[in-house]
């Protein structure tokens, strides 16, 4: 309780600030409407109207909640108006990108740990690759893959996700695979263990705690990658596409509900990895 209470208090404060901000943000429209109609506006009228506009500059929280209820609960899951449907599209590429990024990250980490040449050649470029803003590449990946005849958008979005996701995995795995001390490596040598045995029985298990920490960062990054992949490229399905379409049709409620849905998805994904982490670590005997 001691840990949840402050969080709830801060959340309540954010909600309150949000409600207060709604009034000045939307007042312009209300005042203009009233002037045109030649009406006198009382302050309560003004507040009530700012909370209930069709196209507010800043929608009130309850409007976003209503829109979420409409598009999540009251719409059939298979419908193109359902946020669950769009969330599913986004989730698919996120998971593909996450898988691809994790495999690439682990593969590169293994080669970096075992080969000095790979370490010296690859590591600086891996760091530089992350300073390139992925969004600069996103539109091009999609156009190029379309020219190459790759159907659909799952593959390009997954590649963008993987690009963002592989780096944290790579860095942590290099650290993790190198974490066994000289004593432990020597012990394996006295067992006359082969390189493969040392890898499977010592280095890999030792790297698992590092791996899971980076997976939590990685899956959040993968979701960001997918949404970035959907934003600038005229996608029509997925949470990023909802944001894009909401922007093009001047429908802020659509943008806000998609944003909240994306936030919930991110939270759920990170929590799932966290649960897997504690299960795996418990089973492997890393006492917590």
């Amino acid at each position: 309780m001691n840990r949840i209470l402050p969080v709830l208090a801060v959340l309540a404060a954010i909600l309150a600030i949000w409600y207060v901000a709604v009034v000045p943000m939307n007042a312009g429209w209300t005042v203009a409407q009233a002037e045109r109609a030649g009406q006198e506006l009382t302050f309560p009228d003004l507040v009530a109207d700012t909370m209930d506009q069709d196209r507010p500059r800043l929608p009130a929280p309850h409007q976003v909640a209503a829109e979420l209820k409409k598009t999540v609960l009251d719409t059939k899951v298979t419908s193109k108006r359902s946020l669950v449907f769009h969330g599913w599209i986004t989730l698919q590429s996120t998971l593909w990108g996450f898988a691809l990024g994790t495999v690439v990250g682990i593969g590169m980490a293994v080669s970096i740990v075992y080969s000095r040449t790979a370490n010296m050649s690859l590591m600086p470029w891996a760091i530089i690759s992350q300073t390139i803003p992925i969004v600069a590449i996103a539109p091009m990946i999609i156009v190029v893959l379309a020219t190459l005849g790759v159907e659909g958008r799952t593959v390009p979005k997954a590649i963008i996700s993987a690009y963002l996701c592989f780096f944290p995995v790579l860095v942590s795995m290099v650290k993790g695979l190198r974490s066994p001390g000289p004593m432990q490596i020597d012990l394996m040598k006295t067992y006359s263990a082969s390189a493969g045995q040392t890898f499977w029985k010592l280095r890999l298990p030792a790297s698992v705690p590092y791996l899971f920490t980076s997976l939590k960062v990685g899956i959040a990054a993968a979701l960001v990658g997918t949404i970035v992949g959907e934003l600038p490229t005229g996608a029509i399905q997925g949470l990023g596409a909802r944001i894009l379409i909401g922007d093009q049709f001047g429908n802020p409620l659509m943008i806000w509900s998609a944003l909240i849905a994306a936030a919930c998805l991110a939270g759920a994904l990170v929590s799932i990895v966290a649960v897997l982490q504690s299960l795996a670590l418990q089973r492997m005997g890393y006492a917590r």
Binding site: R116, M120, S121, P133, L231, P232, A263
Partner: protein, 280 residues
């Protein structure tokens, strides 16, 4: 096909060279540490060139590095205008405002343990969210010019720096704080002489993460509306007209800008946190 074979040979030769450098006494010297990645990068460029020319890859799919370099040289003026609009006006001003705001909020939060326990989990959560999604909203609020880009950057860099600073300010040992108390140091003295310096490695961690986020934010925001200049604007219009050499030149500029920006922050970090074990 004739050029693909040399590409393969070149790859083997370069790898052999790098293995030799990595295995020799040069490996621990500064020259060796720079030479190996440079050889690797140049080899990738050369192979790219050979494969594109050898397999006759269409310019619409992947332009050769020489073609990109030509575009880079021809379009310097345009690229500079775009760079000024996106990186200098949008990203840097947003970065500075966001960092200052996050830093001040972190100092304020730090005075109340209750607030810290409430905000830290939320900040951690928000730092993992796809915040880029708010770009269209902020472009709607602040207009098409660089102000909206800076606003997106402010929001994107705010939480990583906030979380890192708050964590850093908590990173002093009880012994050290007690020592300050025996000196009867005031809150501000403890803050300035002990806790802020101790927090700097964390703060710079956040600042470094934020450099990349700043460029991403400024570019994404341009996809939702911008004046007819800017790197994001140029990339999206050039992709539309399939001028991929132009897109790649912009990417080269963003990569260079991103690396320099990151490098600059790292240099400042080295200067500020010279005492930290990771810098020695």
């Amino acid at each position: 096909m004739t050029l693909v074979f040399p590409a393969f040979v070149l790859w083997m030769a370069a790898w052999w060279l790098n293995t030799r450098i990595a295995g020799s006494s040069l490996a621990s010297s500064y020259a060796g540490r720079v030479a190996v990645p440079v050889v690797f990068g140049l080899t990738v460029l050369a192979i790219w060139e050979l494969v594109v020319r050898g397999l006759d890859v269409s310019q619409v799919i992947l332009p050769a590095p020489t073609v990109i370099a030509e575009t880079l040289a021809d379009e310097t003026g345009t690229l500079w205008i775009d760079f000024r609009q996106t990186a200098l006006k949008g990203a840097i001003s947003g970065y500075v405002i966001g960092c200052l705001a996050a830093f001040s909020v972190a100092l304020a939060i730090d005075r109340s343990p209750y607030l810290r326990r409430g905000l830290l989990p939320i900040g951690n959560f928000v730092a993992a969210l796809p915040i880029v999604g708010i770009a269209p909203i902020l472009v709607n609020w602040f207009g098409f010019d660089w102000q909206s880009k800076a606003a997106v950057v402010v929001v994107m860099v705010f939480f990583p720096i906030l979380v890192n600073t708050v964590q850093g300010l908590a990173d002093t040992a009880a012994m050290q704080r007690d020592l300050m108390r025996t000196y009867s140091a005031s809150y501000w003295q403890t803050l300035l002489k002990l806790r802020l310096p101790a927090a700097m490695p964390f703060v710079f961690n956040g600042l470094k993460i934020a450099t990349t986020l700043a460029l991403i934010g400024a570019i994404v925001a341009e996809y939702f509306g911008s004046p007819t200049r800017g790197m994001g604007f140029r990339i999206s219009t050039s992709v539309g007209t399939l001028e991929l050499a132009m897109v790649w030149s912009e990417i080269a500029v963003t990569a260079l800008a991103g690396t320099l920006f990151y490098g600059a922050v790292t240099l400042v970090e080295r200067w500020v946190t010279f005492w930290h074990p990771s810098q020695r």
